[in-house]
Symmetry: D2
Subunit: 377 residues, 4 copies
């Protein structure tokens, strides 16, 4: 089986860490490799970074897309790992050139841009995967399948959350570039905490449950003095089936790392999952609690999920493997288009989920500016 060739836009800065994370996730299975990139915003820095990485460098995404369009290099898909405000242009350019895209979240800077991407994807029928890393975790996929097969019953209530503590102080005033761009409206958009990690909670609440958010009432805080954007994001949501969802995220929870997860309460069972102990899914039906474990040897994984597992239970697959699973989905989409015989790609979040996320954040910001008035998506 021929290796897939992957391009990377962004992610090559010395303070960036997500470029290397994508590289590792791409490489992990030995069936894909990162071979080209426009790794930084300054052309000379971009070329220099590529050299340091040992891949073919381009001064900017345009040059990369143009070259790919001409067939050299022949990339199979492109990963976009730039800051939020620089997702849209390269994504659109790739799609216009027919190049599949694996794009970081939140998908775009504005809802308008997101709508444009939806149109392009539909028009061009080009694979597009949104890099909500956690959705690549098999236990999150299993939770979704349990809902789909009716094991949870009708869903009444959802909790989805993401607690971090890294922005509890004004890190952005120091030399921390991650903090600097994330708290800067010009690069991040209308929401920091909501856009960055509130969208993960949103995806957990919607993608796993199969429900859409209809309207929201929100309260956003900027607790750290001098911060323009939210570092705390709280949403009460009404789902399209009438369920209530509490969707909340914070960056000021001192000492918390990436405490992301969800609870789903249905008429037949409750589900509970915690990202920091991602190898287990708690299922409660009332008699006693059941813990489902990650592991290729467990028959409770439907084939759609099982085909993503790498090892027997007890040896955890975690962050890199979850992201690698999104690359696997992209790989399957690409190989399937080529006519190769691959297992079916799982329906991981794509451009529609990306648009919904953008609308969710916009509605939350609007609601918060109006004292929590209920706002439709």
């Amino acid at each position: 089986m021929e290796m897939l060739k992957v391009g990377l836009v962004g992610g090559g800065g010395s303070d960036s860490f997500f470029g290397r994370v994508h590289q590792r996730a791409a490489c992990l299975d030995g069936t894909r490799q990162v071979t080209a990139g426009a790794l930084r915003s300054r052309p000379d820095a971009a070329l220099e970074a590529a050299k340091a990485w040992g891949i073919r460098g381009f001064p900017d995404y345009r040059a990369l897309v143009d070259a790919v369009a001409k067939g050299d290099p022949a990339l199979d898909y492109v990963v976009i790992a730039t800051p939020n405000n620089a997702h849209f242009e390269p994504a659109r350019a790739c799609l216009d050139a027919g190049i599949p895209v694996l794009c970081e979240k939140p998908m775009t800077f504005t809802v308008d841009e997101a709508e444009t991407l939806v149109e392009r994807v539909k028009a061009g029928d080009v694979p597009f995967v949104l890099a909500h890393t956690y959705t690549g975790h098999p236990m999150m996929m299993l939770a979704r399948e349990l809902v789909r097969r009716g094991a949870v019953g009708e869903i009444r209530k959802i909790e989805a959350w993401y607690r971090q503590g890294w922005l509890a102080t004004a890190l952005e005033r120091g030399n921390q570039k991650q903090a600097a761009w994330r708290t800067d409206p010009a690069r991040t958009g209308i929401s920091n905490c909501g856009g960055d990690i509130g969208t993960h909670a949103f995806v957990a609440a919607t993608w796993v449950s199969g429900l859409a958010v209809k309207r929201v009432s929100a309260r956003l805080n900027a607790f750290v003095t001098g911060r323009e954007l939210d570092d705390d994001f709280n949403v009460m949501a009404e789902m399209d089936n009438g369920a209530t969802a509490l969707i909340h995220a914070t960056q000021i929870a001192l000492g918390y790392r990436n405490d992301h997860g969800f609870r789903i309460f249905g008429t037949r069972a409750s589900l509970e999952w915690h990202q920091e102990a991602a190898e287990k899914l708690l299922v409660r039906r009332g008699v006693h609690d059941e813990t489902y474990w990650l592991g290729a040897n467990y028959e409770y994984f439907p084939e759609s999920v099982a085909s993503y597992l790498r090892v027997p239970a007890g040896h955890n697959e975690d962050f890199f493997e979850a992201l690698a699973n999104l690359h696997t989905t992209m790989e399957r989409l690409v190989r399937k288009r080529r006519g190769e015989d691959v297992p079916p790609p799982y329906d991981h979040p794509g451009v529609e989920e990306g648009l919904a996320g953008m609308r969710f954040v916009r509605a939350a910001v609007t609601s918060a500016r109006q004292e929590g008035a209920w706002t439709d998506l």
Copy 2:
């Protein structure tokens, strides 16, 4: 040291379980005993129940209070464990007769009643303790002391919750009397879930933090068909220092038992506590996580809390011991009034907290009826 004599109003029904729980909590330390009671609403049943318990029986609370007022029996305090709508009258009668009261929560049926009790307690200077059982747990007391001593810094955000699953189906239509009175507006008041367990979350959010709720935006649900009152209760609250609190409770979380707890995020530390693993308190300051354990041998308990501990660490004190601690507080209040030499009673929730809880529930119900409009307490 002479045993204290305790009276009990309510709690003697065959389906009731809290009467026996209070009896056990009263007895536990060997310094208090339940000796008299008006245990049920029907006079003959009340007398019969007392006989079965082996204590002196009274047909109703009035007869009991009258007798105590005349000095026979000489009760040191009275526990009120009736349904919500029957707290006020006996409580007022006791206070008017100068009898100390340990009253179940929520304190009263209406805010007006609660205000009356506040007046009476102030006027008569009679001890009054509100039976928010969980506040008797030493780790919850320790959390409060950590806040008081500044270890948590300025509080920015609070989460307080209570998840149960026992009302996920329409139990009240069967033969379950607990479910029947709790879902009946005539006996429970304007809120079922909020009044019963939302108040526990409220007390965690306020009593531990030392902050008051200023205003709320609420969403209440009655998920089970035919239910008039809420079985799901969600509040976004603004605290008096500007902090945000998520205070939520539910009774439809299938398979959840008494998943009560809180997180408090301050500028110096975060605290996290779970009632179902009540022996530990998680303290996060940023370097590594610290787990504080319950245990008489640990020097991190201030004397005010340490005087409530019964055994060295590793042998958990739990539900009965927590409630017994509220009896201990009442015992100390009573003995102190008599001039006995006792350790200082801890400032457990009393009549003011009870009033605040009633106002909180009322404001939440009002807000929920107006689509979550922010409502002052």
Copy 3:
């Protein structure tokens, strides 16, 4: 129902804590009370302590037993909470006088004494319960019932342990009286760690599994300089069905509290229980893990265990309630003899288990002195 009257031998010293623990366990249910005692070894101190406790005092156990034999006071049973070397005499005296005994563990000072008690109990048909507190925990009882009903299959291997850290330093050289008598061969016997907590591990391995230890190979250590007796106790055991058991205990595990528990591996299921999280029992059958929770509302408790439960799930019953359950068993034995209608007493450890424990410790000490040579019980 008339209250049972309980006598207490020992446990009244200012440094003792187990006397008060038994008092609380006796009192908890409101059906038993401690009314008389010979609380300390020095007659005057014994009388003084009784006065302070507010109970009828006796200068020594003989005086107490003589008085009870004459019917005043009319005690229903006697609790023996003296140091190990002072269990036998009062126990024998009570049995000879026909007084039921609830005796602390290890049962006696020597195997000979234990054999004598077995004879007396058999001869006199007097109730005798051994106070292995943890066996009173309903989840430990449930584990035993699961084994009995065949849910675990044939048992192949057992792990039972008890880790403490309180003797990691030479506490006995300071003013710590608990440490002083426990490390003193004259008062403790041939083994400190083994006798004190190794016996708990032994009971877990045998009483829950229904298997007997046939022979042992042991290694004992006295890590703290100057200590004559073991503070670390390790046994490899062969069970009567051919299973292997690792039974180990230590007092030098710095920072460990009362980390007691067991794992039982059978051909149908594995069981795992931890005393410090005593409210749950982990059951593994291979498909997914199941957690069974303590709680009066769970139908998986057989009636023999369910009759010991006090509250619905989610409100833990713990140390005091577990010990209270042993008092409940004694109470049922006593009331049954009187012809009262009570639920069947559970077969908690008694004189036979006490003898087995003494033989186990003796065999372990013998083996350890011979470089771990396999030694029959």
Copy 4:
């Protein structure tokens, strides 16, 4: 930085899973790739497998080593992932040819072979890393560094264990090839459970503590009927400083996955680690418990460990990343020899630890055959 080229001997069978695991671990960081292999024992199968993998194939290890010795392909190191009985020959051949070796454990089939490898490595000064995967986990490395820096004090006792349930039934009689070769003395050697997973427990007990096992007393069981080799392995060990270690492993613990871990009790602190929750290390010093978390942002990692971390805390690195760390160590050894500027390679287990492990298993088997007689290594 040029990619390292890696060769693979074994691991290419359809039932094998460790070949692919090594491939992934090699690939993960994007600085190494598997380019050649002698993947199976039958020459034609070996060539076919290599074709399927898309790497250069060799009929057997000899052909591969000969080719590398001639410089084509130019491999930087070779991974040996054959069954136990086929480690030695290819390892020796590589060493003789000056090719660095990353070898699966247990290192060899016999102690003699292990001694030979030690000589060759010493003589040739060729890098040799033993693939004890778990030692690649940063928290296990951190534990070792805490011991080294004296934070644990003098070590008194160690527990190290590995519990699995996959061989609780006679899988080897079915079509399970992993089970077949592991339970076959001809391919596995004198011990199944001890050699396969007992050695992991041995390495945890010795490599982390810095102590050597002096002598052992062992009890081995073959619980499943018809099994010649142990499926349960229990060792009491005396360490060279006088400490006692319990080292035990089992494959019949129904429902257990890879429950590997250790506890180390010292005079200053206790350490506890569980492979299935590998991201945390529990440190107990007596005041309260401390949990150390995996994460590149935590300053408590000494540089020697920190240089192996890939992401900030809260995104777990697990099984693949741990094994990748052993490849990283090999990569650093290789690059350092070439004069490249790399961080210091960590002293992960090598040929000496491999020999010690072989001697440990031999001594345990010898002891078990003599009723647990103490046997020197």
